[in-house]
């Protein structure tokens, strides 16, 4: 089972919490919006990713379970 990060760009307001809590995968662009990689999440990082998603003030960061593992 693999997980993938997604951001809802409409609700995201560039608080930047996610990049603080998951710097391994999330960096911020020049306006403070998160840049996420396309590839599935490393299993080691899943707990951190869950924490980052929970910490997002607008719940814009989504941790989605992949339907078909690649």
């Amino acid at each position: 089972m693999s997980y993938r990060l997604r951001v809802n760009p409409i609700t995201c307001e560039a608080h930047g919490m996610c990049a603080e809590l998951l710097p391994e995968r999330i960096s911020l662009d020049e306006w403070g919006y998160p840049l996420l990689g396309e590839e599935p999440l490393d299993p080691v990082l899943v707990d951190h990713a869950r924490r980052a998603a929970a910490a997002c003030p607008t719940f814009a960061l989504l941790l989605q379970r992949e339907r078909q593992p690649r």
Binding site: N8, P9, I10, T11, C12, E13, A14, D29, E30, W31, G32, Y33, L35
Partner: protein, 457 residues
């Protein structure tokens, strides 16, 4: 003989035999006003009774699948697949005819709604019947008054819908670039703002009133109306095997007769321009697919054919059939800067990367086009393009990035010239690309009309 037909062909002929060759959709288009119900029936024959399709509801879908019809709103998605997805979702479906045309360079939907309202309503009714839909909604731009009026007249003319069949509703949509986008339209129809929403859920699962909703372009429904009458084999008589049938294109720029033309899919673009009376000025490039599309240098004009596979090597696609010719008298750098500023203004402003990124792109391109060209570099543009792509809820930033990228690639020599010498004498030429009216208010009021023939005397 030319393979393209103008908007103004001969008078309606009194036959209901399947038309051979072109025009198909644009047969009998009057120069002014619209075809009324009797004229429409004498031209195309009555709406096929669903007896042919009643035995199994999916027979229309099967026919459309065999015909290989693809959506004509720009994304070119197989229509049968979309119908099937709606049919497979839970709940009684809603069918939406999308005639909201945000693209300033396109006027095919305006032509269809103004002149041939019964053809698109036929297609909508057939789709609604085959899906067992409860409602058929026609979405038209607020500014398209002629289309609004001819549709309203046509809906009244068709009379009370039969029991258990779909109620027809005509709805105005604010004039903006993004309002014709599927999720924006559904949001508007649900009483929200006419802005794109985060997907999933897509409209085929949860659309209007959270019901499975089929949203397709008006031209797609016009093709459905003819496929139901004449069959898939007839549809495939024109076009290529991957892209069968005919398509509507909107041609603008320095040609003798700009306008909406019906062409065979896969036809050479040169034949469309010939049908429009040829070029009235030397062309520098062609914009295909609208303001979210791609530029192709005019020297390739002879090789260009209107189909996805033949345009792919040039990084272009037929999209919603928009062809804009840019003359050699215009400065492509200045035009690109103006277009980028307009696209930035048309951002819904919901997603940060699109809001900030398109604005920054427009500013950078304006600097390149302006006096102090050396202050902004093309590397900065490339950097911003990477920050914009695939980072919005809808495809608006992707389309804008595609257009700017293709402008930089196509007009490399002009961009180099600007970087070295600053403004050119062509910068002073009047703007060629039509960008529509600047939007006045952030929250646009909209005209809504509910026409229920059942309640009419």
């Amino acid at each position: 003989m030319s393979r393209a037909q103008s908007t103004y062909p001969e008078q309606p002929t009194r036959t209901t035999r399947p038309p051979v060759g072109l025009p198909r959709l644009l047969a009998g288009v009057p120069a002014h006003g619209s075809l009324d119900l009797s004229e429409h029936h004498s031209l195309h024959g009555p709406l096929p009774e669903m007896t042919r399709f009643r035995r199994r509801r999916s027979e229309l879908i099967a026919e459309i699948e065999q015909a290989g019809l693809r959506g004509r709103g720009g994304a070119s998605f197989p229509t049968a697949q979309k119908l099937e997805a709606v049919a497979a979702s839970r709940g009684r479906p809603v069918v939406v005819i999308n005639a909201a045309e945000g693209e300033p360079a396109s006027s095919k939907d305006a032509t269809l709604t103004r002149a041939l309202p019964h053809l698109i309503l036929d297609g909508g009714e057939l789709a609604a019947q085959s899906l067992g839909a409860s409602e058929l909604i026609v979405a038209v731009n607020d500014s398209a008054i002629a289309g609004f009026e001819s549709l309203a007249t046509a809906i009244a003319e068709r009379g009370t819908p039969a029991r258990r069949s779909a109620r027809i509703r005509l709805v105005g949509v604010p004039d903006r670039y993004v309002t014709g986008q599927e999720t924006a339209l559904v949001s508007h129809l649900n009483g929200g703002s006419a802005l794109p929403t985060f997907a999933p859920p897509l409209p085929f699962e949860h659309g209007v009133a959270r019901r499975p909703t089929l949203v397709s372009n008006a031209e797609t429904f016009a093709h459905i109306a003819l496929i139901a009458r004449h069959g898939a084999r007839w549809f495939r008589e024109l076009g290529t095997s991957a892209q069968p049938g005919s398509a509507l294109v909107t041609l603008s720029g320095p040609v003798a007769y700009p306008g909406v033309y019906e062409i065979e899919c896969g036809a050479p673009l040169g034949s469309v321009i010939d049908a429009a009376g040829g070029l009235s000025a030397p062309a520098r490039a062609l914009l295909l697919g609208g303001y979210g599309g791609s530029w192709v240098p005019a020297e390739h004009l002879e090789d260009l054919c209107f189909s996805a596979e033949q345009l792919a090597p040039y990084g272009a696609s037929p999209g919603a059939g928009v062809i804009v010719v840019l003359s050699e008298a215009a400065c492509p750098v200045a035009e690109t800067a103006r277009l980028a500023r307009w696209l930035a203004g048309e951002s819904a402003g919901q997603c940060g990367p699109c809001l900030h990124g398109l604005g920054a792109l427009a500013t950078t391109l304006e600097t390149i086009a302006g006096q102090d060209a050396h202050a902004a570099t093309r590397e900065r543009v490339e950097q911003l393009l990477a920050l914009v792509r695939r980072r919005g809820a809808c495809a608006h930033p992707d389309g804008a990035a595609r257009l700017i990228q293709s402008a930089i690639d196509t007009f490399q020599s002009e961009f180099d010239e600007h970087a070295r010498y600053g403004t050119c004498e062509r910068c002073l030429a009047p703007p060629e690309l039509v960008l529509g009216q600047p939007r006045r208010t952030r929250h646009l009021s909209t005209r809504r009309a509910s026409l229920n023939p059942a309640r009419r005397p």
